[in-house]
C-alpha cells in the first residue's frame, strides 16, 4: 500500500476504496514481499479482515468514524495484542497468547485502525540489528533496531503506520536507516501499559510512518493519560497536525556539533549540512552549539539500561540463559552483579545531561535542536564496527550516541529522511524539541519534508515496484 494515511482516509471516505480492499492489498503485499524482508512475525488475516468489515460498515453508515478508520497498521512484537503471543524477538518467551491488548492497541482499534500483524523486534528490544529482518534499500544490510520490523514494513509500503518502542533510539534508528519518519514522543506522552519493558525509565512508544502528517495523526490517537500506566502524563493532548503547515520562518534551531555527533560519515555530514541550509532557506535562524555533557551519553544510557533490564528479566537470566543472545546475556548479568552505586551515578548523570540540554534551549531560545539522526548509514548484517577515518566504534554505540540523549532527557525527537549516501542508503535528520511540544518538531519536520523529496524516494523493495 503506497498511500499515505491521509490519502487512504480520503479514498475510504469517498467510497473510492473499501477497508477490505486496502486490507486485502496489505495482506497480498506482505505475502509477496515479506518472504525476503521478514519484517512480520505474525500476520492476523482473520482478525484484520473482520476489523476491515467493521470499518467498512461504519464508513458506509456515514456516521463519525475515527481518523484511522479502515487503515491497515502493524505493531512491534513487544506490544501485547490480545489473543496472540508476544514473543519479544526471543525464544525464551512463552507461546501462550496475551490476555488483553496494550493501551496503545486499544486506542488504535477504537480509532478504527485495522491491525494486520506484528513486526519483528530485536531480541528483548535490546539491539540495533533486528535479525532476520532485511533493509528494503539493500538486502545485505540491517534495518536498524530494535523496531527493525516496523521500519522495514513501512519503508517497503506494506503498511503506512507501525508502532515501535525506543529506549536508546529504537524508533529513530530504523526510521533513519530505512528512509522513513520515526517519532519518539516525550517520556510520559504515550502509555506503556501492556508493552514489555526493556528499561522502564527510558522506554517510549511511538510511530514509524511514511510521512510526518501520518506520525502526527497516530500520536493524536495513542497519546494521553492512562490509569493503567502511572507514568503516562495527565497533560491534555493537542491536535498535533494543526501546525504542520506553519513553516519555520523565524524559528531558532540549534545545530548540535562536537560530541556525541562527531565523528560521522562524510555523506552523513554533507546531507546534514545541506538539510540545515535548506531550513535556513525556509526562514529558520540557526544557532550552532555544543553540549559537552553529552560526551557521557553512552555511560549514562548503559548504566541505566543494564540494571533496569536485569531487574525485569532476573528470572529469565537465571533460569534460561541459554535462550538469550550472548551480548544481551552479558548486559543482564552485569545488571545483576554491578553495585547499585553505578546505577545511581548513571541516574545522576542523566539529570545533569537533561539539565544541560534544557540550559541550551533556554539560553538560545530554541524551538528545536538538530542533529544527524545517526552518524552512519545502514551497516552490513555481519558488521560489528564503523571506521570513521581511523576512529573505530561499535555499530551499537554509533547508532545510540546521537539518539540516546533524548531518552535520557525524555525530550521528544523526530527523524525525517534527509538524503542518500553514495551507495543509495538513507540518512536521517533528527529534530528534538521541548517537553510535550511534539507539535513543534512535527511542524519543522513537515516544513522540511515539503521542501525536499527525500520522503518520496522508495527503496528497491517496495509495493510500488514489488521487487523482492
Amino acid at each position: 500500500m503506497s498511500l499515505s494515511v491521509q490519502q487512504a482516509a480520503r479514498a475510504l471516505r469517498s467510497g473510492e476504496v473499501t477497508s477490505r480492499q486496502l486490507t486485502n492489498q496489505a495482506l497480498a503485499d506482505i505475502a509477496a514481499l515479506d518472504g525476503s524482508l521478514e519484517s512480520f512475525v505474525l500476520v492476523d488475516r482473520t482478525g484484520s479482515l473482520a476489523a476491515a468489515e467493521r470499518a467498512d460498515h461504519y464508513l458506509a453508515s456515514g456516521g463519525a468514524v475515527g481518523p484511522l478508520a479502515g487503515i491497515p497498521v502493524a505493531i512491534k512484537d513487544i506490544i501485547h495484542m490480545g489473543g496472540h503471543p508476544t514473543r519479544c524477538g526471543s525464544p525464551a518467551y512463552p507461546e501462550h497468547p496475551a490476555d488483553r491488548d496494550a493501551t496503545v492497541v486499544t486506542r488504535l482499534r477504537e480509532a478504527g485502525a485495522v491491525i494486520v500483524g506484528k513486526t519483528t523486534a530485536h531480541e528483548l528490544a535490546c539491539g540495533v540489528y533486528t535479525p532476520p529482518t532485511t533493509n528494503p534499500w539493500d538486502t545485505d544490510r540491517v534495518p536498524g533496531g530494535s523496531s527493525g520490523g516496523s521500519g522495514a514494513a513501512v519503508a517497503a509500503g506494506l503498511v503506512p503506520i507501525a508502532l515501535g518502542s525506543d529506549t536508546g533510539g529504537s524508533i529513530r534508528i530504523p526510521a533513519a536507516l530505512c528512509g522513513i519518519v520515526g517519532l519518539k514522543p516525550t517520556y510520559g506522552r504515550v502509555s506503556r501499559a501492556g508493552v514489555e519493558p526493556l528499561s522502564w525509565s527510558l522506554d517510549h512508544i511511538g510511530p514509524l510512518t511514511a510521512t510526518v502528517a501520518d506520525a502526527a495523526v497516530t500520536l493524536d490517537i495513542i497519546a494521553g493519560s492512562d490509569p493503567a500506566d502511572p507514568t503516562a502524563s495527565q497533560l491534555p493532548v493537542p491536535e498535533h497536525g494543526s501546525m504542520l503547515g506553519a513553516g519555520v520562518e523565524g524559528l531558532r534551531l540549534g545545530v548540535l556539533g562536537g560530541t556525541p555527533v562527531e565523528p560521522m560519515q562524510p555523506a552523513v555530514e554533507d546531507a546534514f549540512n545541506l538539510a540545515v541550509d535548506q531550513l535556513v532557506d525556509l526562514g529558520a535562524k540557526i544557532v550552532r552549539l555544543e553540549i559537552p555533557e553529552l560526551a557521557h551519553t553512552l555511560a549514562a544510557e548503559f548504566g541505566i539500561v543494564a540494571p533496569e533490564a536485569a531487574a525485569y528479566h532476573r528470572n529469565l537470566i537465571r533460569a534460561s540463559p541459554d535462550l538469550i543472545d550472548p551480548g544481551i546475556r552479558a548486559l543482564l548479568v552485569a545488571g545483576l552483579l554491578l553495585p547499585a552505586v553505578h546505577y545511581l551515578k548513571a541516574l545522576e548523570a542523566r539529570r545533569v545531561i537533561a539539565e544541560a540540554i534544557r540550559r541550551e534551549f533556554q539560553a538560545n531560545s530554541l524551538a528545536a535542536l538538530l542533529t544527524p539522526t545517526l552518524p552512519a548509514t545502514a551497516a552490513l548484517k555481519d558488521q560489528e564496527e564503523f571506521d570513521y577515518n581511523g576512529v573505530i566504534e561499535s555499530v551499537t554505540y554509533s547508532y545510540v550516541r546521537t539518539t540516546a540523549p533524548f531518552n535520557l532527557s525524555g525530550l521528544p525527537a523526530l527523524s525525517v529522511p534527509c538524503g542518500l549516501d553514495p551507495a543509495g542508503l538513507p540518512i536521517g535528520l533528527q529534530i528534538a524539541g521541548r517537553p510535550f511540544n511534539e507539535s513543534m518538531i512535527l511542524r519543522i519536520g513537515a516544513a522540511y519534508e515539503a521542501a525536499t523529496d527525500w520522503s518520496r524516494r522508495k527503496p528497491p523493495i517496495h509495493t510500488d515496484g514489488k521487487a523482492a
Binding site: 557521557h296 537465571r318 545483576l336 554491578l338
Partner: protein, 51 residues
C-alpha cells in the same frame, strides 16, 4: 555469581569479570561529570504537587 543465582555452565567467571571491569571503567568516566553535583534528592517533592 552463585549467590546471585548465576550458576549455569554458560557463565564463565573470567569472561564475566572482564565484562564487568569494562563496564565499571565506563561508568567511572561519569565521575568527571558528577564532580560538581550534589547527588539526587529523592525526598524532594515534585513542584507539581503545589499546583
Amino acid at each position: 555469581m552463585r549467590r546471585a543465582g548465576l550458576d549455569h555452565e554458560l557463565f564463565k567467571p573470567e569472561e564475566v569479570a572482564a565484562d564487568l571491569t569494562a563496564r565499571i571503567r565506563m561508568n567511572d568516566t561519569l565521575d568527571d561529570l558528577l564532580k560538581r553535583t550534589s547527588g539526587l534528592d529523592p525526598t524532594a517533592f515534585d513542584p507539581s504537587w503545589q499546583a
